[in-house]
Symmetry: C2
């Protein structure tokens, strides 16, 4: 019996062994760990079941709400995990899984993660994190400098100052966005005369004091759904998250933004935050940040940039100009678990002004005492892990020029893919790539012709059928298990803003080759042609339209 078979019967002595006796290298768990270290992709290819099992089937393995009354041997449980969890997980690092922002990870992060977890620091306070606290502050400083390029003196003065904060590390972009808007709200409704500030008195008193009838956040209609959550949580209300229309490139229209602000003001609604998107989640486009900055400055609004995904582009000297104006933002969200290639759970929000976060500062008796450098006094979260160490290590090992290469290569590949799609006579590129994201769909060649000739009614029906087809292609491809693209619903200008379901591709994985891109297109064409009903409906309507319009 191996050392892994530790809790055979439950007594305290046998229980202590799980804290003191490590898994043997030749144990089931030790073996798996080794295989995974030697070749992660091979391990996942071997263990993840290719063909999709319906969720209702998978759920059967997870249906018992009773906490077990009998311990399970580590070896037995490990086998169970392989069979039920690993086998039906998603191979997010596969080069052919290009549907989401989760990519392959550098190998060195696996052992480093283990060190991070073994150290089990809690970054809420120095007492449980020590060197991790200045480390995290340095990482925030590095990202701050990447955005705002302040001088050395600035960082010497503020990076480790107990009374200041350049930002907050958090579990992800959603918490980062909420934190930015929380700061913005509290600064907009700060203490004034007898009024003690929204943080103390609450939103109702604050608005009574300032005489506002409402508070508004403005963002393009392509803003991330987390902003709706933020508007809800912060008591602003989702209706007061105002969607501004975008141009044909999915970028906010500054004129429309300006007009909306003036209109809100006549209604006595205070626009307190404007959000620029630097890499929309659905189309990958970047708002004209400098123009938004100008409006925000004039209107004395907080200007936040949601660069959760696109922010990593600042690493590329070649492409960082695409985010021109980001340095004018009061705050910026960046997710390191997207294109900085860090495991899930590494979001950040940076603030231009080291005093901005004062409005959300908090203290307690036993920790976060005033004057302490405890990170927890400026974070929405409390206890937090040492994820910042993984960012720290990656920034050192990969370095800025390394990240630049990864970013440049991703963008280059995406432009290649865009050309590839344009060169197919049965595919349509829906949104051009700015970064490494694009959307497209499959349309049979003759249907493309029919679309140009169709009446308004026919167009709508055909469009509806094409949506069904796109959905079918995406689902089938996922179920086949060889490759994965995602889908979303857009309202493209070129299709009269009709709701259009599109295939969505993010080319962040450095292991994705152009051969894979070709084969994904091939597979989609093949799936489309074997679609049981939709394609024939499309075909019939196409023929009808073409015949009717023959000779035109």
């Amino acid at each position: 019996m191996g050392s892994e078979d530790k809790i055979v019967d439950v007594n305290f002595e046998s229980l202590l062994r799980i804290f003191t006796v490590p898994e043997a290298p030749d144990s089931t768990l030790g073996n798996i760990e080794q295989k995974l270290s030697q070749n992660l992709n091979a391990f996942l290819r071997e263990h993840i079941v290719a063909e999709e099992k319906p969720l209702s089937e998978i759920e059967k393995d997870f249906s018992n709400a009773a906490i077990p009354e009998q311990p399970t041997l580590v070896s037995e449980h490990t086998q169970h995990l392989l069979d039920t969890v690993v086998s039906h997980s998603v191979h997010t690092s596969a080069p052919s899984f290009i549907g989401h922002m989760t990519s392959a990870l550098p190998y060195f992060l696996m052992p480093l993660s283990k060190i991070m977890i073994a150290l089990n620091q809690n970054l809420v306070k120095i007492e449980t994190s020590k060197a991790f606290t200045p480390l995290e502050r340095q990482v925030l400083g590095m990202l701050h400098r990447l955005i705002y390029s302040q001088n050395t003196h600035f960082y010497q003065q503020w990076m480790h100052s107990a009374q200041h904060s350049l930002g907050a590390f958090c579990s992800g972009g959603t918490i980062a966005n909420i934190t930015a808007l929380w700061v913005a709200r509290n600064n907009a409704l700060k203490a004034d005369g007898n009024f003690q500030g929204v943080e103390k008195e609450g939103l109702f008193n604050a608005m009574m004091h300032y005489g506002y009838k409402g508070m508004a956040i403005l963002v393009s209609e392509r803003g991330h759904y987390s902003l709706k959550k933020a508007a809800d949580v912060l008591g602003i209300g989702q209706k007061n998250l105002i969607a501004i229309k975008t141009d044909q490139h999915n970028r906010i229209c500054p004129l429309a933004l300006d007009a909306k602000i003036q209109q809100l003001k006549t209604q006595n609604i205070k626009p307190f935050a404007i959000i620029g998107v630097a890499g929309t989640t659905e189309t990958g486009n970047i708002d004209p940040l400098d123009k938004i900055a100008e409006i925000a400055k004039r209107e004395q609004c907080h200007f936040h940039v949601d660069a959760a995904w696109g922010g990593a582009t600042l690493m590329s000297n070649q492409h960082r100009h695409l985010l021109k104006g980001i340095e004018l933002a009061d705050s910026v969200t960046i997710d390191a678990h997207k294109q900085l290639y860090i495991p899930m759970g590494a979001g950040m929000v940076l603030f231009k002004d080291p005093t901005a976060m004062h409005s959300i500062e908090h203290h307690a008796e036993y920790i976060l005492r005033k004057g302490s450098k405890d990170l927890g006094s400026h974070t929405l979260e409390g206890s937090r892990s040492g994820m910042a160490m993984l960012v720290y290590s990656s920034l050192h090992i990969i370095s800025r020029p390394g990240y630049e290469l990864l970013i440049n290569e991703s963008i280059r590949k995406t432009h290649y893919f865009a050309e590839l799609i344009k060169n197919q006579d049965d595919f349509e590129l829906i949104s051009e790539p700015e970064l490494c994201l694009l959307t497209y769909r499959y349309i049979p060649k003759d249907t493309q012709q029919a679309l140009r000739l169709a009446s308004q009614d026919e167009l709508k029906i055909l469009h509806q059928y094409l949506n069904e087809l796109t959905q079918f292609i995406q689902k089938s491809q996922r179920e086949n298990g060889r490759s994965f693209v995602s889908r979303t619903r857009l309202t493209p200008e070129q299709w009269q803003r009709m709701e259009t379901i599109v295939l969505r591709v993010v080319l962040a994985n450095p292991l994705t080759t152009v051969d894979i891109l070709h084969s994904i297109i091939e597979e989609q064409r093949r799936i489309a042609q074997t679609s049981p009903f939709v394609l024939s409906k499309i075909h019939q309507l196409t023929q009808r339209i073409l015949q009717k319009n023959e000779g035109k």
Copy 2:
């Protein structure tokens, strides 16, 4: 040159290797990982510098805000991590570090964490998490059942229902508490007639509609500081988080709670949530949950229990009666990274009613579509890691009776420690343990006598000196680096509610022996006796008081 020396110069081919070529087992990183796997405690003992380096010194290693322009070899960076980060981290798993709620971890969690990180699932949606989604739902179901003990049919019906949710997994107790109060606020200000609900219209309109002048959350004065943050974020205002006084056992006084509610109502302030604390952070006491439940029910308030730390006690059939009434709560916070022995970053909030979270549900086009089982539609966070897997595995491998042993042993040891302190003639137990937390302080024997004889003014001064001494003891012990207890500031009934700095101990680590407890007391006594100034001030005043009162 080993395979670890991958990025020598930055070109795309060498960069690709970090994604494709694993660290060699004989590389620096490979070696560390192995040592850490073989004997974590020895590794940490060897690498963490015992004597404390001042933070200002540590900061020097983390002072450069520039992202490196040159890549660093993995081996070189690993050595750098050992020298600057690991060496000055906190040995949270040391059996003599009994100051915080972070404990040693079972060994099997280290390799499992690596698997979890290598899989890099994103639990916001099924498309990037597949089996992890039902797994997380099962874990939530298990904790729900641990609290609410519903029958099998209940869990069959709701655990995997797309339209329902038994709770949310989150990064920690703070987000869990915010989530609970967010739900409570939205349910209290729900849609009604023309009013579309606070989530859509915001707090100002909501209160205008319902005619409230304020919204209040009530909790004992021992409530966790995260609740202040919640009151701020949610727009309620920190002033409207009402602190109710506690009895001599740090438990909320139900009469005072009731009186406060009636008073708020006459002011037209809506008490929408009452919070019971099941394990206060500073003293470890449990509120009379059943009595709070009764009041909450009568007043139609949401009843939330913050059992972030104490909730694990439900695993113990012997001790779960201490949390009597928790099953009446509308929601409960439990942190798995506290006494469920999971690495940092595993909080949960459970809701009794599977429809409670409807009030914070949200959807988007490309994910969280209506009817999907995507977990992200009911979480404050967006992208999240697969931490639930670690809870799942621990629940299976340790099992409920295993956890019961750990809990029982912790409580038994804490009662032993309380007796030990009481038996010293120069220590004073400040708060009796209910679970595995207690507070105490060092007071020289003759000073104890002097305290009984002192005038009010003398008492105050002596108390002040003792606070200085306690602080000195705690700091010195931490700086010595052999052991660690924390400190906090209480207002104990037995000391006329004067501010009293106390030593605080949490005995969660199963490896902490009674010998260690004895030696910690010894070390504290030794430190006290070598304190340069404070002890002599105490001694002088003590003598003066004793002489003045001689013969009394």
